[in-house]
């Protein structure tokens, strides 16, 4: 019993992150609006960032900025990777939204079902 | 002296939190967009200001306090401006405020 509680306290972070990831995934595959899909992708990416950063945390540590008198620092390597990933997520979102604007101009709608109907009618 | 500063800072922090809570309750309970906006504007600016002053007392005389002072200045200006812009936008898009109807009394 004590083991189960210990496991729960050690892992609840990851489980909530997986719930967020699945929320984003569901938005991408189930909602027909293109802007909603891109926002779902954004939620997915942000939840992955939280997963990495919570793996980097050390109990009793502090931010990885070297100061006198502190000896335990959180791991800086995932922070660097996630910094890159945040910027790449911005690039993806910007390009995705630009594509949505162009699709809306071409088809007159930003709903995936209507676009399929128009494509099949050609 | 140190205890007095600590107690004062705690009072300010808790007071700020109480005002933010009141603002949040106001947003949920008020009937109309403009009244909700008023609740947010007044209570959030005051609450954030009190929290910042409480943190300044905790920081003492150091660089952190100067940075907090700059953040305080920024929040005092930008909070009401943002709400003003929201209210202007709502008026411009013809959202009518809820007026009291004397016939229904």
């Amino acid at each position: 019993m004590h083991d189960v509680i210990h496991d729960l306290l050690g892992h609840y972070n990851y489980w909530i992150v997986i719930i967020l990831m699945m929320t984003g995934f569901y938005t991408v595959i189930a909602r027909p609006n293109l802007v909603k899909k891109i926002i779902g992708l954004f939620i997915f990416q942000t939840s992955v960032f939280i997963l990495f950063i919570s793996m980097a945390k050390i109990e009793g540590g502090t931010a990885p900025i070297i100061e006198e008198g502190l000896s335990v620092y959180s791991n800086p390597l995932p922070h660097v990777l996630i910094l890159t990933a945040i910027v790449v997520s911005l690039a993806t979102t910007a390009l995705g939204l630009a594509l949505v604007v162009r699709i809306h101009d071409a088809y007159g709608t930003s709903n995936e079902d209507d676009i399929h109907v128009q494509d099949e009618a050609d | 002296m140190d205890t007095v500063v600590q107690i004062l800072s705690w009072i300010l922090l808790l007071g700020g939190a109480v005002f933010l809570l009141i603002g949040a309750i106001g947003v949920l309970r008020f009937p109309d967009f403009y009244t909700r906006l008023h609740a947010v504007s007044v209570c959030d600016t005051l609450g954030a200001g009190l929290v910042l002053v409480g943190l300044m007392l905790q920081g003492g005389f150091s660089l952190v306090t100067v940075k907090l002072l700059l953040i305080f200045y920024f929040m005092m200006f930008s909070g009401p401006t943002a709400v003003h812009a929201l209210a202007q936008a709502a008026l411009r898009s013809k959202l009518k405020p809820l007026v009291d109807d004397p016939d229904s009394r």
Partner: protein, 317 residues
């Protein structure tokens, strides 16, 4: 106590996530995404990732929200009801989620100092940074010096995104301005804050060695100042302040500056992106190299953010 703040923030994130899935009004969804980014920035601060929190707050809650709002106003702002049943997606999502949760049962406990990720390279970085590079912020030293090659690729990715948006959406020069009468308060405050925001961006850029900060955050904050100006005074005025050809040149100059620092290293006898040979003393060389590349990154990021903003907003007529 920290666990309590963690759980509350993660709970709020879940509630916001579910609200984003369910809401029909896309303007509200854009606002909820901004709240989601701010909450994750708070969570990053609690998890001791201060650089990442600053970047997420600037990029997620700042630029991404503006782009989503611009897209929603250019397309429709209500979502229609889905026409297929959600059973198959729900089943797929549940199975994937269950598989992932089964996969996390083997992961090390949250906060465990003996986890495999903390052995190997990370302790070397923490150990060697004061001696070899002399910069207190270890994230900056890893980003700019130890893994500087990855950051060069990242700057190129941002540049490519700017070029891609420019190719997709094009750009039209606006001459018409919006009316002045009703925006007095916003204009005064925008004029008051504009120089302060730019100054703060420069502070974040050059102070990235000693605290949270660096090129990416600084570039985004710099661009945000100009976006505030453009929102209050109209796109025509903003284009007179910082015209589009200048932005294109700035975007390229940043990437070129970064690559030039690398090639300078080769010309002075070292390897590509070796900063130690840039000055007499290796540590001074590291400082100089980090400062130059952060400047390059900041210039490119600011220019590309503004290019993307101009491309989106100049499409409204």
């Amino acid at each position: 106590m920290e666990h309590l703040i963690d759980i509350v923030l993660l709970g709020l994130l879940m509630i916001t996530g579910f609200a984003i899935v369910r809401m029909k009004s896309l303007l509200a969804v854009a606002m909820l995404t901004s709240i989601y980014s701010l909450l994750s920035a708070l969570l990053f601060v609690v998890l001791d990732a201060v650089d990442v929190a600053l970047t997420e707050a600037a990029i997620g809650a700042g630029i991404s929200t503006i782009l989503m709002l611009a897209t929603v106003t250019l397309t429709r702002d209500e979502e229609e009801a889905p026409r297929h049943t959600p059973l198959l997606p729900l089943a797929v999502v549940t199975v994937t989620g269950a598989a992932l949760i089964y996969g996390t049962l083997d992961m090390p406990h949250y906060g465990d100092p003996a986890a495999p990720v903390h052995q190997h390279v990370a302790s070397t970085y923490l150990h060697d940074t004061p001696g070899e590079i002399g910069v207190p912020n270890v994230v900056t030293s890893v980003l700019a010096s130890y893994r500087g090659y990855d950051t060069l690729g990242e700057v190129t990715v941002i540049f490519t995104a700017g070029a891609g948006v420019l190719a997709l959406l094009g750009y039209r020069t606006r001459r018409r301005n919006i009316q002045t009468r009703k925006l007095v308060v916003l204009r005064v405050i925008a004029k008051l804050f504009f120089p302060l925001i730019l100054l703060f961006a420069l502070y974040v850029l050059f102070h990235g060695d000693f605290g949270p900060g660096g090129g990416f955050q600084a570039g985004v904050i710099f661009a945000t100042g100009f976006i505030l100006y453009a929102l209050a005074f109209g796109l025509g005025n903003a284009q007179r302040v910082i015209p589009h050809p200048l932005l294109r040149i700035m975007a390229a100059v940043g990437v070129l500056m970064y690559a030039a620092v690398g090639i300078e290293g080769i010309l002075l006898g070292g390897k590509f992106l070796e900063y130690g040979v840039l000055a007499d003393d290796p540590v001074t060389g590291q400082h100089l190299g980090i400062m130059l590349i952060e400047l390059g990154v900041g210039i490119t990021v600011a220019a590309v953010m503004l290019i993307i903003y101009y491309s989106f907003v100049s499409r409204r007529d």
